[in-house]
Point group: C3
Chain length 97, copies 3
């Protein structure tokens, strides 16, 4: 197993394309997206009611190296600032295959 940094981003769906473009630019090799996530944050509640689908949240998970973490964090900061959301970094071990 190999030590990695796990990154979890929860933000507004409208920002998904920007988040993924950025991850690709940093060189993160893959990501997982869970759509239609609902939540409450410091900017209010995002539900998956039909009326507010456009404001629903997404959950993006990816792993990166220790060296990439700061670059990812810096990139997420303005997105989180504008739309709310969370970006969490934690330690994990990845099974090598």
């Amino acid at each position: 197993m190999e030590p990695v940094k796990k990154i979890e981003i929860i933000t507004n769906s409208v920002e998904l394309r920007k988040v993924l473009e950025f991850l690709e630019r940093v060189g993160v090799p893959g990501y997982t997206v869970i759509r239609n996530v609902i939540g409450k944050g410091d900017r209010g509640t995002a539900s998956d009611d039909i009326e507010v689908t456009v404001l629903s949240n997404v959950y993006v998970m990816t792993v990166c190296t220790e060296e990439q973490v700061n670059e990812v964090a810096e990139a997420m900061r303005p997105i989180l600032k504008r739309f709310g959301g969370v970006c969490l970094v934690s330690d994990a071990q990845s099974v090598i295959h």
Copy 2:
């Protein structure tokens, strides 16, 4: 980045309102909910088949401070005891924005 405690709760959908009410009472500032999660626990299997929708699970993720962890854990215990489920606590760093 700021150290936080990440809390993940997987429990029966019918308990969602109670879980969220409690998180608000403890002062947790936000949460993310993924609905229609399926799983198997010590109380049997929850699937998202139409027949058993009422028994489907939810996944709730939130972050809190070191000081709030025990209060959240204590509050989840009776819910988990009654309906099964899991409450995991782990360390993470949150990007400040």
Copy 3:
């Protein structure tokens, strides 16, 4: 709270049954499955467009003991090798109930 190993597996939906069968064989007591997850990995992009539903990903989360981790990792390796995907192991505390 009790220390556990949290295991997260993201792989092709067609492998779900095999992953769950294996977890049961190892004696992991429960798991959570989030279906229709989309992502990009080293094998290309899995989207949830109707055309490629059969190739969509699943997210499986479970907890196990320190002793079970290696067995789970070894079992996931060939599945990840064949279909791509990720298996992450991290430390967590589980609320006892």
